[in-house]
Symmetry: C2
Subunit: 694 residues, 2 copies
């Protein structure tokens, strides 16, 4: 589908130039230097020749078919250039020029124009305000990009919303000697989108790992769905930048994308099974391991070292990131005792000693490859002058070939002196790192991907006992009245319609109503004002707790009628629940995504400690359980010391039903069940607040 973009048979450059410091020159230069396998057609209305090529006044004059055209002329001329591309039958157009959506105003208009023209002709657009693509495939060698880093051929494909970030990642791989498969940075992304590119690479057998850099997702739901499908097959490593308010501000000023809450993208990554990074170096170093090594089948790491300190560092990082360092099997220990120096340590980590021979290292790797209690191997290998380091590297290389477990290496050496050792290591395919931290982080990422890939999230449960129509009609009523928030009575109707257990209550309007309603309720009762425009009822003095009798109820209703005489009020009369563990469940709509659900312990936990967990709706039972179990205060819910815990399954069910509700009724813009009282045997909503997108 994106074949003609990433593997064009021919490329035209509209705005090609003989001025060396222009993009119109550089793209042609890049194509030649990178040894592009097809013809290049410069388009320039004046110069008859560009570099060594015959130039054409218009793309319409190019005598052969054109798969891909760059447009590098000023923004205002771009729509008509797109038009000509359409007439010529060009398949893809990369608009490198800036001056579109990112500058606002007229730029937005120009960008829309281009999209409309392209649609008319069935031309696909890439950009505008973008770098372009690179494909290192020896049969293609397309460097349709004006940047300067020349990637080697490999198995990592990179799509970066920021060309700057993409270029830095490319540079790092180039420095590390790690190969790249394809590269794309699509700027404003008016047509060809990041999800579409990820999907395409999902089908590319030579792409073993995908890197994606995000500043803001323009279609988060599509990203989620595509990424989830692809991440089930091959690793996607994701990095979202602009997390802090200040960072996000910088995003807003640099791209035409929509601003979002800073962690939404990482919550989407988690759901999709994308491994999340917050550091470009970690991302690059981890990608190198993913590209060359098999995946670990679990989190149990066996370590080999010929120096103490760095192994300690690697251990710290692995443990902090959820790996384990299990004891070795008796067989492994016996085997190692028979092979290593007497003073060597044959437990995990295996310390082969600084003076270890190649055979010692080999024996240690073989033991770990064979040990059924170990899923992956980390080697700390320093090159003292008295060690046969080339022999060690060769043995590591051979051992790696014989086994099926991933190996990463912390190779500590002077790169200028130990060149042959490094060469052997490079040829072995074992990723090696100057720092123990980097090796451990790379391995941890692989372990994390394995966890994401093998977790069973299940499907959201569908409750057939809900009355969707009923809920929709309540909402419609409020919407018609242009009320942004439902009244308490309405909110409770919706809770009832979705069978979410809620404190029993009734909407009442007069003292008489109240007395009648109270017959069906059990004292003590709570009387709440229920009026438009009064959101914080307690602060407004509109909540009376602990009403014990009919007499008291009548008095309180009368009093409240007087206090709020100026407003058109109703009351909500509710059974007062015994105190339980306070829980908060929320949902908020995110444009283009659906809803984010939130779970937390109520009161201080949420307001001071921000101890909450988010997930993208709809959530399955497993996801709901994970949300609950991931809050820091979870031990309180599970039961702590003498305290009984609460009924977790009831909370899961509430999350599930809310999840179904907001999925059924996308008009709900926000929802807060705060508090829910959770008890050892069940859980009940005390107060529900529902907002509508008007």
């Amino acid at each position: 589908m994106l074949d003609a973009l990433f593997s064009p048979k021919s490329v035209a450059v509209i705005g090609a130039s003989n001025k060396r410091l222009t993009i119109g020159y550089r793209i042609i230069q890049n194509l030649i230097e990178f040894d592009f396998k097809g013809p290049v057609f410069p388009v320039n209305p004046k110069d008859p020749f560009i570099k060594n090529f015959k130039a054409y006044k218009s793309i319409l004059e190019v005598p052969d078919p054109v798969d891909l055209a760059h447009i590098v002329i000023p923004a205002k001329f771009v729509p008509s250039a797109v038009e000509e591309c359409g007439r010529k039958g060009v398949k893809f157009v990369i608009i490198n020029s800036a001056g579109f959506k990112e500058v606002g105003g007229e730029g937005i208009e120009l960008e829309n124009q281009c999209v409309q023209i392209a649609r008319k002709y069935g031309v696909r657009l890439f950009g505008p305000n973008c770098q372009g693509i690179i494909n290192t495939d020896p049969e293609v060698r397309a460097y349709c990009n004006f940047t300067f880093t020349r990637p080697e051929t490999g198995h990592i494909s990179i799509v970066a919303q920021s060309g700057g970030v993409g270029e830095v990642i490319n540079q790092r791989f180039s420095e590390l000697g790690v190969g790249v498969r394809m590269y794309a940075s699509n700027g404003n992304a008016c047509d060809v989108s990041i999800p579409e590119i990820i999907k395409y690479w999902g089908e590319d057998p030579q792409t073993k790992v995908i890197i994606v850099h995000i500043e803001s997702l323009s279609n988060p739901r599509q990203f989620l769905e595509v990424a989830r499908d692809v991440a089930a097959k091959k690793p996607i490593l994701g990095m979202k930048t602009g997390r802090t308010e200040e960072g996000a501000k910088a995003v807003a000023s640099h791209t035409g994308g929509l601003m979002r809450e800073d962690i939404t993208t990482e919550i989407i990554f988690e759901k999709a099974g994308v491994v999340t990074f917050r550091d470009q170096e970690d991302l690059c170093q981890s990608a190198a391991a993913f590209a060359s090594q098999p995946l670990p089948e679990g989190n149990r790491v066996g370590m080999i070292t010929n120096t103490g300190g760095p192994a300690i560092i690697a251990t710290d990082i692995l443990i902090e990131r959820g790996a384990t360092m299990p004891p070795l099997s008796k067989e492994s220990e016996e085997f190692l005792k028979s092979k290593l120096y007497a003073a060597a340590s044959v437990s995990n980590p295996i310390d082969v000693l600084a003076t270890a021979t190649p055979e010692h290292f080999r024996a240690a790797v073989d033991a770990l490859q064979k040990d059924p209690g170990v899923d992956s191997i980390l080697i700390c290998f320093v090159t003292p002058f008295f060690a046969e380091t080339e022999g060690i590297a060769s043995q590591l290389s051979e051992a790696a070939k014989m086994g099926s477990k991933p190996i990463v290496c912390n190779l500590m050496t002077d790169k200028r002196q130990w060149t042959e050792t490094i060469k052997i290591m490079r040829e072995s395919g074992i990723p090696f790192y100057s720092f123990a931290e980097a090796a451990a982080k790379a391995l941890s990422s692989m372990i994390q991907y394995n966890r994401l890939k093998t977790r069973s999230l299940g499907e959201p449960q569908i409750f057939t006992d809900v009355q969707k129509e009923k809920a929709v009609s309540v909402l419609a009523r409020a919407k018609e009245a242009k009320r942004q928030f439902l009244t308490q009575g309405e909110a409770n109707e919706i809770m009832l319609a979705y069978k979410i257990p809620t404190a029993k209550g009734a909407l009442v309007q007069t003292v008489k109503d109240a007395s009648e309603a109270a017959r069906n309720l059990r004292y003590p009762l709570v009387l709440k004002i229920d009026a438009e425009g009064i959101i914080h009822k307690t602060d407004a003095g509109g909540v009376i707790l602990n009403i014990q009798s009919h007499e008291q109820l009548r008095t309180e209703v009368s009093k409240m009628e007087k206090s709020f005489a100026d407003k058109k009020v109703k009351f909500y009369l509710q059974e007062q629940l015994p105190a339980g563990n306070e829980i908060i469940v929320g949902a908020s709509k995110v444009a283009g995504l659906g809803h984010l659900l939130m779970f937390g312990l109520g009161g201080i936990y949420v307001e001071v400690l921000k101890d909450v967990k988010f997930a993208v709706a709809p959530v399955s039972v497993e996801e709901a359980r994970l949300m609950i179990e991931s809050v820091k205060g979870f031990p309180i819910l599970r039961g702590f010391r003498a305290e009984k815990g609460v009924h977790i399954d009831s909370l899961i069910e509430i999350l599930q039903r809310i999840s179904q509700m907001v999925t059924d009724i996308p008009e709900i813009s926000e929802l807060d069940l705060n508090p829910i009282f959770a008890y050892p045997e069940n859980a009940k909503v005390v107060d529900a607040r529902i907002g509508i997108a008007l």
Copy 2:
């Protein structure tokens, strides 16, 4: 004091060898290759020549004075070699050989022997089981070490408990082209210690920044005191490895050091003003900035970029680490508007645009240097082919020389192509980094050091109203009786002696006693059993709350007498305090350091959320306040929503008095005030538990 160690006039090698793969050969080779400025004397009982040098059968035969001798012979021969060094008048001995404390048993004995012999002669020992030292001073060029990395001359001095870690750090500086001043890795550290080395470098004018790697501190108090003095003058960058239980286990198996709780060292770093790192790469990259740049005077960063994405990343990191990105002054904005492209962004970050000229960059740096609202400058500089990158680098270099604010640069380039640009940047002294994260982290570290250096911790307050003698005598009584924990009555006596407000109470033994004591107390009362061996009184049924009358008191005392008839019990009768915010204050003794104080919110906060803060006693008012303000639940103490806060000064005073108590009475091994009830007007201890080091 360590002159002859780091700047020896002559070096002998006892165990020098002609076998190329031995340490006895390599040290001589290293001295020659590093161009050591003094004579080298090989000592070997058999070979008459080692390499090109005349060898001596014994160090006693060396005809000239020897400042420093290496000993590389097997452990069991080392003591007599040390003896000979003593007789020869050698000043320092580096024992490279292993087989001492780190192997336990006989090794410990051998090490002690060496220490005793050395003391007798006034010889100082370095090691054993160590690498040695390096001094890059052009007048010295001492490479008294068997490793292989050749540092350039510079201003960073490194002391590493793990030689492996030290070597990796050296390698990284070598790769980065960053110079080193001195290096030391002293293994078992039987004599010359890390604090002594730090103190020495504190006086070395050429050392601008000190790096220290710690696995376990053998004398934490000495480290704290030395590091505090030195860190007040120049930056110390510290890294402690072996934080996780598994990592710490690996430490224990690799060194002869004492095991400690994993964060104690970082708490000591904080108090001493050492900048703490958890990643070697961050440490090295930050050191490069410290070594070349002036310190920032505050946390306000001005940023300049010619590419969007990386500036966003730098912003995220800076903000997350406590820096700010303030708006620029009107003058700066006006100046920039007059100098930059019209489309450039003249707010912070300043986006000069990809096509920016050298003059644009210069104007931006000049503006930030002049802007009084900015303390430091971060530049994101990508090198597109159409930019005059050499000119930009030259302008940055000149601008840096003209100003006094620190500058760091994220230089994004292909190092193989932009060699001249890199050369200019290197000569400028501006530290530059491939990744925005690294530049931002380095700058953040400098900002953090400035914060540590300029913070005013004050001196611990000394309360003269305490009765130390009284407290000591109570403790002595319990110690004599070999009781590991004080009774409640004793603990309360000590609280009283240190004027720590505690719920009023009395020790009683019989029903009659109780009735009498109750006359001086206010109901409701709490009756607690006070018996040896019953630590968890509530669990044992030994606490009766809410006693309202004399009658009830008598009944309860009688009942309890019966329940605990088998034990020799007393009772503690205490006024029951109204419920307050639960606080916990603790102290625990750490060998070689003194006491760690702990502050936290009680109950669930400490037990589930681990929301506590530690500090090394004694603490000042400022430190106590910082402990309280750093717990996550602090908003609850400050007063949250409608809730009144608690009296923070009362909590500070309790911390201060406990601090003084454990400093006065080091026999206290542990102390728990749990709970303290804090109120808006004061705070009172409900229960005190004190343990003694027997």
